[in-house]
Each structure stands twice: as structure tokens, then as C-alpha cells.
């Protein structure tokens, strides 16, 4: 597979390490009343779609960016790649 890195252009997937569902960005707030429950869901409940999937890839043998890659798990077509940091900011993690 080839991942079109937002900063570096097309790179071979071999340069990356795969983590999993991009929902791992949405780490719950430890101050929440039911934080334990939310952390449980955050850690253990994942969708496993046959189709579009937003997932985290780490450019370990490259510039060490974490990326959010939108990949079709059936065809491996990659439709979107963003810096995970930008995604995290958009999701309100700037604190």
C-alpha cells in the first residue's frame, strides 16, 4: 500500500506502524464522573467495519508523524490522509 503523507507525499506503507481505530484520539476526560466506564469503552469497544475505516498509522521509519488514514478495509483504497495532530485539534483536544 501507499500512504499519501500530507507533508512528504506518497510513501510505502512498510515505513509505517499500524495502531488501529482513530477513535483512540478521543481519550475520555479523567475528571468525568463515570470516567472509568468511559475509559473502558474507549479502550475496548471498537467498530470493525467492512468499508471505510479511520485509522492511526505512525510514520516510524520516516518523520514520526502520526497520521489518520481513511482506508477502505475491503479494497484498501485510501481516500484521505491527515496529520493526527490536526485531527486531534479539530476534535477539541487543544487544552
Amino acid at each position: 500500500m501507499i500512504i499519501n503523507h500530507p507533508l512528504l507525499g506518497p510513501r510505502d506503507a512498510q515505513e509505517f506502524t499500524y495502531l488501529g481505530d482513530a477513535s483512540l484520539i478521543s481519550r475520555p476526560d479523567a475528571q468525568d464522573d463515570n470516567a472509568a466506564e468511559k475509559f473502558h469503552d474507549y479502550l475496548y469497544l471498537r467498530d470493525n467495519p467492512a468499508g471505510l475505516h479511520r485509522e492511526l498509522w505512525f510514520h516510524e521509519s520516516g518523520d514520526r508523524s502520526w497520521l489518520v488514514v481513511t482506508r477502505n478495509t475491503v479494497t484498501h483504497e485510501i481516500t484521505d490522509v491527515q496529520l493526527a495532530r490536526d485531527v486531534a485539534r479539530k476534535e477539541g483536544r487543544s487544552k
Partner: protein
């Protein structure tokens, strides 16, 4: 003259004779021959024995689809089994041997299997040898393996080098027949970057095997003219002897280039083969088509061949398999074989065409509406028996039978990404369909365009279309004149007459009867059919047999062939040697070797090294007279505790953390608090996974307000860094903090023991005060040593002694260890390795990887109170969940044997002093154990249920695996200096 069956013409170089041997006998061929063509030229039809029944077999095809003519090549370390004679280029001195035979190919005692064929039908593995069970491994399997083997391997290291390479192109053209050449030419002229890959050693594909003209030239001459132009184009890379074996995601293809297979020994410095990874923007599959046989009784005798192959041998290699040839066909194409052979002066004794309206052939007797129902000739075909249209039987003498059942487009690569081929009624074959790999299109025969004219046009058209997708304007070239005879074929798969065996898959000895049996036993889906009968397995993957098998099954189930389906084509297209897949990653180069800066020095000292991941670390340093590793390790421990020792700890992960929010960031990464760590201080830190399990520990040293150095364990250096970047970029994206791994940037040594300070004071520059008051336990700082060399000093201790870790830039690591050893001479300094390091940390009760084993919490490790409840850090919420901190859970404890002579085995389980020994009564387990030279006995660290409250209890340390059991006392894990007085000294 190179053999009695050599004809005129052909594309061989008759001036160059090539001497080779087969089964010990010497023969002569020519440059341009394959092993198969040269053997046929020498009237050798018998080339091997079949897989299961040891039936005599000859060559069936002239290409990579060959199921039968598998031979062993070369000898010694280069011996190579299961090589297809049809694609083996002849070279001077080539040694080839037939396989899967007894004493000689002609007299194979294992041919007895053929007499017992009723027992060896489909599924015989599953039905036979079921009982007694123990016999399977010891008796049945070895016998079957021996009887039903293929070639043999040398069991020596392959002396040749294999390589891997990467290529990029706009257009990859797979195959160099008429379609491929036109595609490459069109794209090449347009200036696109083109790779033309051809599995054969010459380009041209079927153009070299046919007598068709292209424009006014012979097909092969036209191909050479195109090649001349392609060769002149710098943007075109022509790769012969290169098979594209797989189509992968996003336009990536893999290909094997057989750089030196056609040479006795690779030329100096060249690899034997290269596995290429080709990144293409677009690709055209022009892989041609494969002819399929018609099954009939005893259709596997040497001499029964594909009609297209016989034509290829005659036209390209100027060889006829025999002086008398007959043809058996269901289509017009088969007649070409008769015509071409007759033109070469070969006696064609008859053309048997299943179609009653078959066209007349000039120069040979035609049997229209007839079928071949049997054959004779034990080691080579002598005659065929024909059922004529009028019902009469007739024997027809022939030493070779050219069979054509039609052609199957080579759709394989179009299916590597779930593409499902579709049925084409005219061809009675599958053509590419469904979703092709992104960027791939098929052209020519591979796409069902079986005429030369269709292939030329489709190849050019596919290139124009592919380049237009890329925004490159390509001109459609003038299309040369070429044959365009429409396909005329009546599907015909197997002859129903006859009680004997009609072979569908010759490589796996699968007959029509086997398929009927599979159907009868309800293995009817194609996938089941394949597994039950082994149809389509092994090196040829059923290239000539799958369709026949499908057709028989379709008939039995009353379904159409497309309803019956095809098995899934997977890479590789043809067999790939393991050497090519391994490339350079063999032996010592299997993974990288990382050496620490003191490696050379340690080797000079005679150190024993141990692999720690990719690192090599000194394990111990034997001295003269020491005959057992324990002597060295005990000495290193005792001398360090008595005076001073030095250990290379460079392999620990080091991560530089800088920025205004560095402290806030570490506060989130570590379970314990870091925000208030003063500058110039180090703190032990425990990292949890988000699920609350402890996963790594180390230290963080605050060198400045905004600058920390974090250390990790050697094993987790990469993982911790990855997780820290995840936290930085994904969880807290706006903290002002930067990370970089500096593991390789610093050489770091632990200097431990009562004389550690005195030793260091000799090399630390005098302006830096490292006295106990100025530089107490857990101090850190940036200093200079040896007159100005920048260094970092950390007063931390893994051994429990007064100890420091000193780091200098890596390039000074070798100099520093030598300097430290020299400075330490007056204290009788010892270097110590990982063993002594381990012994001392066990004596001190420090947790390491054995304790942080992925199942233990901070509570288990006795560090439950360290986990901050005030701050938000990774893992602290779930470390509080039920079951993680219950009284009675595992606690880390120390173990001391009741009898000091007893060793404590690591991994042993703890049982109460009395009672049952079982999983139910299990009390915990030993994680680390060592002989403590200080205490004079074996000691261990263990996790024990409720261990914190069980000090002094006697337990059984049970090792049922090795049948040992000892008694041990539960003690504090801190065996040496529990008050920590030494490390503060």
C-alpha cells in the same frame, strides 16, 4: 547436428553448441535451447515420474505452466529441485536429473503404486492410515513422503546472493507478445517511463512460436524490430527473465528477475535472482493465454503434448518431439500445428478433430467427428486409438500427439485483488472481469483477444488509455497487418469412452474418476474439490488442469462452468525460490546487529556477548583460569560490591524531552508525579498502559526547566517512544514539547561500587563538584570530563551501590571506557556484563522485564502508592478498576531456599507448605532467580498471593515440568542493603 529430432530454421544459434547432461548421460544442444527443447531434439521424451503413481511422464508444454517435466538441476550446494525443464535455459555443463524415481527413470520400483491406484484415489490421505493413530507420524507419513515426493534439496547453504530492488514507472507492461510490445512501444514513444517485463529469455511471446507474418516480416523479426526501437528509448526498461508474480495494492507489483539462472555460476558480483517491488501508476497485463488439454484414457504418456507447445518447439526451437506426430483438437488452432509440422517435413499421421464439420487439412489425414480413446507405449507414446465418426476403432501410429482443447486467457494477476473472471462463451474460457487491481487493464490474449491483430490493437489501445489517465498524450501507432482468423471451437473437455484413467491434472495425478469420486462424496464446491483431490495444487497451480476439472464437476452437478466457479488465484503466478524472498536477510544478516560503543573494547577483553533484541551486549568477562560462567559473574558482582565495577548501559532507550510543557507532558506519561521534579534531579518513573498494566520503567532526569532526559528499558525503547509521540500528537496536541530518540547519540556507562566516586573524580573536570553533598543520590547534571569533553552525569543505581551513570557523545564511548578502566586500575575496577547486572538487581529487588511482564499492575509490583490519584495520566483511571488492587492479589516478594544448596528455578510455581499441588492451589510464580554470591545461595523474586503479609512463611517452589521441588522462605525482595545506605554513601 544436435539430435535426431532437430528440424530446419528456428531461433536457436546453431553455431554455438552446448553440452549438458541428463541423468548422467551427455547430450548436445544449442544456445537458445531450453532443457526441454534440447532433450526433445535428442529424442528424449521420458523426463520424469509422476507424483503419486510414478507413471512415466514427458514434457507437456513449452512454458512456465509445465506440470510434468520437473527436474533437479546442478549438484552440490546449488542443487535445485522441481525446476521446469521448459523454462530452463540450456547452458554449458548443465547437469539435470529426473525426479521422483527409483534407481533409474526407466525402471522405477515405486511404479507399483500405479497397480494400487484404486487405493490412492481422491481423499486417500483422509481415508487410509487412520488407525492406529500413533502409526501416522512414525510410519505412514515418512513412507508417503518418500513415495510421493518431488525433488530433493541439498541441505547445504545456498552459495548465491539474492537481492531485492525497487522500481518506479508510469506504465508496467507484463508480457512482451504482440500486445505487450505494442503497449510498450506506444507508451515509450509518448515519453512515459515504461517497464516491460517478460518471463522468457527472449521477447516476442507467441510471435516466436508461430509462422504468422506481421506486416511483411516473420512475427519474430517484427518483434526484434520493435525491440530495437524500445532499446533505443531511455525511458523504457526492458526486463527479460522477469516474471511478475503478484499484483498488490495501489499499483505495486512484485517480480522475480532470474539474473543468473541461465549461468552455471553467477558472474562475479551479480545476484542469482532479484525480487523487485515495482511501483506503477498504470499497468497492462499482456500475459497471453495457456492452452488446455483434452483428457482421455492414458493421455499422460510421454509424447502427448499441447498442440501449441509442439508448434513452439517446431518453429522456435526447430525440434519435433517425434518423427511421427498426430493432432487431437476441438478447434481450428490445433490444425496449425499439423500445417507447421508438415511444412517442416514432419510426418503428420492424422488430425483427429471432435467436430464433424472440421476443416480439411492439407497433407494429413483428417478424422472429423472422431475422438482419441486410448494410447499405447509404456515409456513413450507409440500409437493412439481413435473412435471414428462411424463408430469404428482405429489405431494410428504416432510418437507424439499434439492436443488442443482451446486457450485460457492468463487472467491470474487480474484476480489477485478479488477480481472474479467472467465466462466467455465464444472462447469457452474465463476472461478478466469484475474489479481488476487498481490501474491494471488486460490486453491481447490475456483479455480474450486471441488473434495477433486483436492483440496488437488492444496493446496499443490499452497504453493510450492508461497514459491518458495520467495526463500523458500518446498517439495510436500504425497497426501492422496481421492474422485475424476468428476463433472456431467446440467446447470439449474429456473423452467419455474407456474404463481406464483419464488424467486431468498430471502434476498431482488427478483423474476424471477422482473428480467423480469427489462429487460422489459431496466435495462439490471448487474449493473442496481442490483440497480433496489436490487438483490444481503444487508448482503449476493447475494452469493446464483447473478448467478441465471444473468442466467435469460442472457436468456432474448439472451446472454451467461459470456457475461452478473458479478457485481464487493468489500470488505468486509461478513458483518463487525462498532465496529470492529472503534476499540478503540470511544468516547473520537476518536482522541488523547493533553494537555498543564499547563493543570493540569488550571483544578485546574476551567478553561473551548476548543478543538483546538487535543489540549485542557483553554478558560477562571471563578471566584466565575461569572455567564456568558463574565464576566470572560471581567475581564481577563481588568486586563491584567491594570496590567498583563498570557496565555499558548504552542500550537503554534515551528520549530527549524539551519544551515549556515538558514537565506537564511527563506528568501525563508517567504514573507517578513529575511536575515538581527540581532541575538537577532524577526520578524513577513507572509507565502504565491505558488499561492500567505496568509496561515500562526508567528514569527521567531534569537537566533544565524545559529539558528532560527519559530512559526506557532496552526492549521497550521503540515502543515507549512511539507511545510518547502518540500522546504528544494525538492526545495533547498543543503541549509545547518536542521529543527525539537519542539512544544512539550517547554512550552510557554505569560506574558502581563504594569506590565509584573516587574513580569518577579522577576524570571529571575539577570545576564540577561531585561530592556527596554537592551531588547527592538522584542528582544529575551536565558536566565535562577529561579536560572539556561534554558529558552527562546521573547519580542513579540499579545495583544498589553508590553508583553513577555517565554519558558522553557516542563517538567518545570507546575512549571513555578505556579511560575509566585506566583510572580504575588502582581500585581493581572490573567490567561487568548483563549477568552481573541481573544478579545485582535481583539482590536489590529491582523489577525488570521479567516482572513487568504485561500482566502485572503497579500494585503487584509494590508500587501501588506511586500511582498518582491527583493527576490525569495514562493508565491511572483503569488501574483503579475492580480486580487490580485487591488484598490477596499477587505481591512481589523475595525467596530464599531453606536449604542454601537448593537452586530456585525461575518460572517455578509457589505452593503452600502442605496440601495439593495443582493449578487450583497455585500461590504465585517465580519471575527472576540467580545465585547471589553475596548471600551464598540462590535467591528469587516472585509474585505471591497476598505476599506482602506472608513474610517468613515457608513455601514449596514447584517445578513439575522438570520434576523438582524445593522449600523456600518468603522474604523481602530487598536482599542487599534494604535501607539503601550504600547508594546514598
Amino acid at each position: 547436428m544436435s539430435g535426431p529430432n532437430r528440424l530446419n530454421g528456428g531461433l536457436i544459434d546453431r553455431r554455438t553448441s552446448v553440452i549438458f547432461s541428463f541423468d548422467g548421460k551427455t547430450y548436445q544442444g544449442h544456445a537458445g535451447d531450453t532443457l526441454a527443447s534440447a532433450l526433445l531434439a535428442n529424442d528424449v521424451r521420458l523426463m520424469g515420474r509422476s507424483f503419486k503413481y510414478h507413471r512415466p511422464r514427458g514434457v507437456l508444454t513449452a512454458g512456465s505452466e509445465e506440470p510434468n517435466a520437473l527436474v533437479e538441476l546442478r549438484s552440490g550446494a546449488r542443487q535445485e529441485p522441481n525446476t521446469r525443464a521448459t523454462v530452463t535455459e540450456l547452458f554449458h555443463g548443465l547437469e539435470a536429473r529426473s525426479q521422483n524415481r527409483g534407481f533409474s527413470l526407466k525402471y522405477d520400483f515405486m511404479a507399483i503404486n500405479d497397480r494400487f491406484s484404486n487405493f490412492l484415489t481422491a481423499g486417500f490421505y483422509y481415508k487410509t492410515f487412520m488407525w492406529p493413530r500413533a502409526f501416522w507420524e512414525k510410519l505412514y507419513e515418512p513412507i508417503i513422503r518418500k513415495a510421493a515426493g518431488l525433488g530433493s534439496v541439498s541441505f547445504e547453504d545456498d552459495p548465491d546472493v539474492y537481492d531485492k530492488g525497487f522500481l518506479h514507472c508510469d506504465l508496467l507492461v507484463i508480457g512482451s507478445g504482440p500486445a505487450g510490445l505494442m503497449a510498450a512501444l506506444t507508451a515509450g514513444r509518448a515519453g512515459a517511463r515504461v517497464i516491460l517485463a517478460e518471463e522468457d529469455f527472449i521477447t516476442g511471446g507467441r510471435l516466436n512460436a508461430e509462422t504468422h507474418t506481421v506486416d511483411d516480416m516473420s512475427g519474430s523479426a517484427w518483434a526484434q524490430a520493435v525491440m530495437a526501437e524500445l532499446t533505443s528509448l531511455e525511458n523504457v526498461r526492458i526486463m527479460t527473465r522477469t516474471t511478475v508474480i503478484g499484483a498488490f495494492d495501489h499499483g505495486i507489483y512484485s517480480a522475480v528477475e532470474r539474473v543468473s539462472d541461465h549461468l552455471a555460476i553467477p558472474e562475479n558480483g551479480k545476484p542469482r535472482q532479484i525480487l523487485w517491488r515495482i511501483y506503477s501508476k498504470r499497468a497492462v497485463l499482456a500475459a497471453g493465454a495457456t492452452e488446455r488439454p483434452i483428457a482421455f484414457e492414458n493421455n499422460d504418456r510421454p509424447g502427448v503434448m499441447m498442440a501449441g507447445a509442439v508448434r513452439a518447439y517446431a518453429n522456435r526451437w526447430a525440434v519435433t518431439p517425434h518423427q511421427q506426430v498426430a493432432v487431437f483438437t476441438n478447434n481450428d488452432d490445433g490444425h496449425r500445428t499439423a500445417a507447421d509440422l508438415i511444412a517442416k517435413g514432419v510426418d503428420v499421421t492424422g488430425v483427429i478433430d471432435v467436430r464433424p464439420d472440421a476443416p480439411k487439412v492439407a497433407g494429413a489425414e483428417l478424422f472429423a467427428g472422431a475422438q482419441v480413446v486410448n494410447s499405447t507405449g509404456r515409456l513413450g507414446l507409440k500409437s493412439v486409438q481413435i473412435r471414428l465418426a462411424n463408430g469404428e476403432l482405429r489405431d494410428l501410429p504416432c510418437g507424439a500427439l499434439a492436443v488442443s482443447g482451446g486457450w485460457n486467457p492468463n487472467v491470474h494477476l487480474t484476480c489477485h485483488q478479488r477480481g472474479k473472471p467472467v465466462w466467455n462463451e465464444t472462447l469457452a474460457a474465463f476472461v478478466p472481469g469484475g474489479e481488476l487491481p487498481v490501474g491494471l487493464s488486460a490486453a491481447g490474449a490475456a483479455n480474450g483477444g486471441l488473434t495477433t491483430a486483436a492483440a496488437l490493437k488492444a496493446g496499443a489501445g490499452a497504453a493510450v488509455q492508461a497514459l491518458s489517465d495520467l495526463g500523458i498524450q500518446a498517439q495510436m501507432p500504425d497497426l501492422p497487418e496481421a492474422e485475424d482468423t476468428p476463433i472456431s471451437l467446440t467446447p470439449f473437455w474429456y473423452v467419455k469412452e474407456g474404463k481406464g484413467r483419464a488424467w486431468i491434472d498430471q502434476q498431482n495425478d488427478v483423474t476424471v474418476k477422482d473428480i467423480k469420486l469427489a462429487h460422489q462424496e459431496n466435495f462439490r464446491s471448487v474449493e473442496h474439490l481442490k483440497r480433496y483431490t489436490t487438483l490444481g495444487m503444487a508448482t503449476d497451480q493447475g494452469k493446464t488442469s483447473n478448467m478441465g476439472g471444473l468442466a467435469v464437476m460442472a457436468e456432474l452437478t448439472g451446472k454451467s462452468i461459470p456457475e461452478t466457479g473458479t478457485t481464487i488465484f493468489r500470488p505468486p503466478y509461478t513458483p518463487v525460490s525462498l532465496g529470492a524472498l529472503a534476499g540478503r536477510s540470511v544468516g547473520k544478516e537476518f536482522h541488523p546487529t547493533r553494537e555498543t560503543p564499547s563493543h570493540k573494547w569488550a571483544a578485546e577483553q574476551g567478553a561473551e556477548f548476548v543478543e538483546v533484541g538487535n543489540w549485542l551486549r557483553a554478558q560477562w568477562f571471563p578471566k584466565a583460569g575461569e572455567t564456568h560462567w558463574r565464576q566470572s559473574v560471581d567475581r564481577e558482582v563481588l568486586q563491584t560490591r567491594k570496590s567498583v565495577g563498570i557496565c555499558d548501559v548504552t542500550t537503554l532507550g534515551k528520549i530527549d524531552v524539551q519544551g515549556k510543557d515538558a514537565a506537564a507532558f511527563l506528568n501525563k506519561i508517567y504514573a507517578n508525579a513529575f511536575a515538581k521534579l527540581p532541575v538537577g534531579k532524577v526520578r524513577y518513573g513507572l509507565m502504565l498502559r491505558e488499561d492500567g498494566i505496568a509496561y515500562d520503567d526508567g528514569t527521567a532526569a531534569r537537566l533544565a526547566e524545559d529539558h528532560f532526559v527519559v530512559t526506557t528499558t532496552t526492549a521497550n525503547a521503540v515502543l515507549v517512544y512511539r507511545n510518547m509521540e502518540f500522546a504528544r500528537q494525538c492526545l495533547w496536541p498543543d503541549l509545547d514539547v518536542q521529543l527525539i530518540s537519542t539512544t544512539e547519540a550517547w554512550a552510557q556507562y554505569a560506574v558502581a561500587g563504594p569506590n565509584a566516586r573516587k574513580l569518577l573524580q579522577k576524570i571529571v573536570d575539577p570545576e564540577f563538584d561531585i561530592s556527596n553533598d554537592a551531588f547527592p543520590f538522584m542528582a544529575c547534571g551536565e558536566i565535562t570530563v577529561c579536560g572539556g569533553l561534554r558529558a552527562r552525569l546521573f547519580r542513579i543505581s540499579f545495583s544498589g551501590e553508590l553508583a553513577y551513570e555517565i554519558a558522553v557523545p557516542t563517538r567518545y564511548g570507546d575512549a571513555l571506557i578505556r579511560k575509566l578502566m585506566e583510572a580504575g586500575e588502582e581500585f581493581d575496577v572490573v567490567p561487568y556484563g548483563t549477568e552481573a547486572l541481573g544478579v545485582m538487581r535481583i539482590e536489590k529487588g529491582h523489577a525488570a522485564g521479567n516482572e513487568l511482564n504485561g500482566t502485572t499492575s503497579a500494585f503487584n509490583l509494590g508500587m501501588g502508592r506511586m500511582v498518582s490519584k491527583k493527576k490525569d495520566c495514562i493508565g491511572n483511571i483503569l488501574s483503579e478498576r475492580p480486580g487490580m488492587n485487591e488484598a490477596g492479589d499477587l505481591n512481589i516478594i523475595g525467596l530464599r531456599p531453606v536449604d542454601p544448596k537448593d537452586p530456585i528455578p525461575a518460572g517455578a510455581h509457589l505452593m503452600n507448605a502442605d496440601g495439593e499441588i495443582s493449578a487450583k492451589t497455585d500461590q504465585g510464580y517465580v519471575t527472576s532467580a540467580a545465585y547471589s554470591p553475596v548471600l551464598g545461595c540462590s535467591i528469587g523474586l516472585a509474585f505471591l498471593k497476598g505476599g506482602a503479609d506472608r513474610m517468613g512463611e515457608i513455601l514449596r517452589v514447584s517445578n513439575p515440568l522438570e520434576g523438582t521441588e524445593i522449600r523456600a522462605e518468603v522474604v523481602s525482595a530487598h536482599f542487599v542493603d534494604p535501607e539503601g545506605e550504600r547508594l546514598r554513601a
